[in-house]
């Protein structure tokens, strides 16, 4: 499954002109509000008919203004989880969930009703009306409703915004599982953590234009984009693989830059993981440091340095071909250490966050 999109539309006060290709997996649309993220997925869903554009999903032309093709939303089979739940108030939760099923082709592959309701924790709500649900419950029903309509592509517009942290943690693995099962997802999110955890591909939007688009790891490692991709929360994602459990209980993960030890991770050797490393959690040393409590020290060399006007800098440290870590340092430190492109150094990681990445294993 691959989605090719190009669209141009002038709203008068705002105009959008974007083009990108979303390969299989999760593609995140990231950018400040007003960047045009929702406009883009509205065009994919068919709710917006752009003045110029082309949308092709896996070879099926959904929209081609040049050829006069416009497939109505109901014929696109694209699941859309809106920012607000948009549940039908006159139908029970069960009828809401089953609404799309009667319109979907019988032969189409779909999710199992019981599995979806169990996963979303809404099994007990089936006979209630949307009016009696809390915000989080509504959001979950709305995700279930889109999933059960047997979509071939899922659009998620800030789907987790209305959920509390605990529920978010329950839903995130499910979106990961959908992604790993091959359902393509176009995700709009403000949360850089969410994007880093879920997305293989990132499209960075600003003022209706694509600032950057490409594999998540590449974009996150680009120091010139770090300010746009999270600022203080900027960081990179590197792949890792579980190597085994140490005698003292620590779990050893292998990365391209050396071993990383964590306390909480899957223990099955060979499991593919994504490590998210915040730039502000990385200290840089020219020599391999001694007498330091930090366990996780990766070797690499400086690839790029991007100075900020505020006296700080993002330093990209390459640990392998196509794999980098970002470090947020002051420009004084950069000068004191003599960091420059090509200089060998060590990245000391204070903390790492990890998530499963079955796609990486495939």
């Amino acid at each position: 499954m691959q989605l090719e999109l190009s669209l141009r539309h002038d709203f008068g006060s705002f105009d959008i002109d974007v083009a990108f290709t979303a390969p299989k997996g999760v593609t995140a649309l990231f950018g400040p509000s007003g960047a045009g993220k929702t406009t883009v997925i509205d065009a994919v869903a068919g709710l917006l008919r752009p003045q110029h554009g082309k949308v092709v999903a896996n070879g099926d032309v959904l929209l081609d203004t040049a050829a006069g093709v416009f497939l109505a939303p109901n014929r696109r089979r694209i699941g859309y989880v809106f920012q607000e739940p948009r549940l039908f108030p006159h139908l029970s939760v069960r009828s809401n969930l089953l609404y799309g099923q009667r319109f979907a082709p019988r032969a189409a592959e779909g999710q199992d009703f019981d599995k979806v309701t169990a996963m979303l924790g809404i099994g007990a709500l089936l006979d209630r009306r949307p009016g009696a649900l809390s915000g989080g419950e509504k959001a979950r029903v709305s995700i279930g409703r889109a999933l059960l309509s047997k979509p071939r592509l899922l659009l998620l517009d800030e789907p987790l915004a209305a959920l509390d942290a605990a529920r978010r943690e329950e839903i995130l693995p499910f979106i990961e599982r959908l992604r790993d099962a091959g359902l393509p997802v176009l995700l709009v999110s403000h949360s850089i953590g969410e994007v880093a955890r879920l997305a293989q591909t990132v499209v960075l939007l600003r003022n209706g234009r694509v600032v950057a688009a490409g594999p998540a790891a590449t974009l996150f490692a680009d120091p010139s984009l770090a300010a746009s991709l999270g600022g203080a929360e900027a960081g990179t994602v590197i792949p890792a693989r579980v190597a085994g459990t140490e005698p003292d209980g620590l779990i050893r993960l292998d990365t391209a830059g050396g071993p990383v030890f964590v306390t909480d991770a899957p223990t099955t050797p060979g499991t593919a993981l994504r490590l998210r490393i915040h730039a502000s959690d990385v200290i840089v040393s020219r020599t391999r440091p001694e007498g330091l409590s930090a366990l996780n020290i990766l070797a690499g060399h400086v690839r790029r340095i991007e100075a900020d006007p505020d006296g700080r800098a993002f330093v990209e440290i390459a640990i392998a071909e196509g794999q980098s870590i970002l470090s947020r340092l002051t420009q004084r430190s950069v000068a004191a250490l003599g960091l420059a492109p090509g200089v060998a150094c060590h990245a000391i990681l204070k903390t790492v966050a990890l998530s499963r990445d079955d796609l990486g294993a495939a």
């Binding site: 869903a45 068919g46 709710l47 109505a72 939303p73 109901n74 014929r75 696109r76 089979r77 694209i78 699941g79 859309y80 809106f82 607000e84 948009r86 039908f88 108030p89 006159h90 609404y99 799309g100 319109f103 979907a104 209630r128 009306r129 009016g131 009696a132 409703r145 889109a146 309509s149």
Partner: protein
């Protein structure tokens, strides 16, 4: 009906009873026949952004502001035996509105139409188009969206519109008497009968009785609409 007629025998004379039944028939047919068109026009007025829609809006509301006699006269010119539509209907279908109860129903429908459209239109405007969008992304065609989302949500407004239109149709006098006259047993509706009784000496008692029947029907309709609308609202917005 006959059982009811005989039960009410002591209360209403046969002539009065005929007028009551005719009025109920005229109002029911008027509302039922104009409902689909009413929903359609209300939808267009609420949702369409076509230019020139104000013209349709004005046309629909015209019977509300014109003197009823003028509306009746316009109906006579259009649908009368010599009218341009009436002539056509007579020639091709052998059907005429003139001096028939169907004519009274047409007059009642035209007069009550703006009230029905107003009520339905308000209900449609209260429906969030985002819900309809959501339904379409779930695979529902435009007709399916209307039948499964819009219509259930506007049901209270539709019912309210039907009741108001029914009450208006029951009470329609000016356009009816102008268009189809006041023929007992054929076009003499309740208001026409009251008017006729007031024209003859000693008819006040009958007129008062019919007026009482009018009040009972009107209040009954109002109560019924409240109960139904409340029940529907509870069902669709309920917990």
């Amino acid at each position: 009906m006959t059982a009811l007629t005989s039960a009410l025998g002591p209360v209403l004379s046969a002539e009065e009873w005929t007028a009551v039944v005719l009025s109920l028939k005229v109002a029911t047919v008027a509302v039922a026949a104009s409902l689909p068109l009413g929903i359609w026009v209300a939808t267009v007025l609420a949702r369409s952004r076509l230019p020139g829609l104000w013209l349709l809006n004005a046309l629909v509301h015209l019977p509300l502001i014109l003197p009823p006699v003028v509306t009746g006269y316009a109906l006579l010119l259009t649908f009368g035996r010599r009218g341009w539509v009436g002539q056509f209907l007579d020639q091709w279908f052998g059907f005429t509105f003139a001096f028939q109860w169907t004519g009274a129903a047409l007059a009642a429908a035209v007069m009550s139409f703006p009230l029905m459209v107003r009520s339905i239109r308000l209900a449609i405007e209260a429906v969030d188009p985002k819900l309809e969008q959501a339904a379409s992304t779930l695979g529902a065609s435009r007709i399916a969206v209307f039948l499964t989302v819009t219509l259930p949500l506007i049901a209270p407004g539709v019912i309210a519109g039907m009741i108001v239109a029914f009450a208006k149709a029951m009470g329609e006098f000016g356009a009816t008497i102008t268009f189809v006259s006041n023929i007992p047993g054929r076009t003499q509706t309740l208001p026409s009968a009251i008017y006729a009784f007031l024209q003859v000496p000693g008819g006040e008692v009958q007129a008062a009785r019919l007026a009482g029947v009018s009040v009972i029907i009107a209040v009954g309709a109002l109560v019924a609409s409240e109960v139904i609308a409340r029940r529907v609202a509870k069902r669709i917005g309920g917990q």
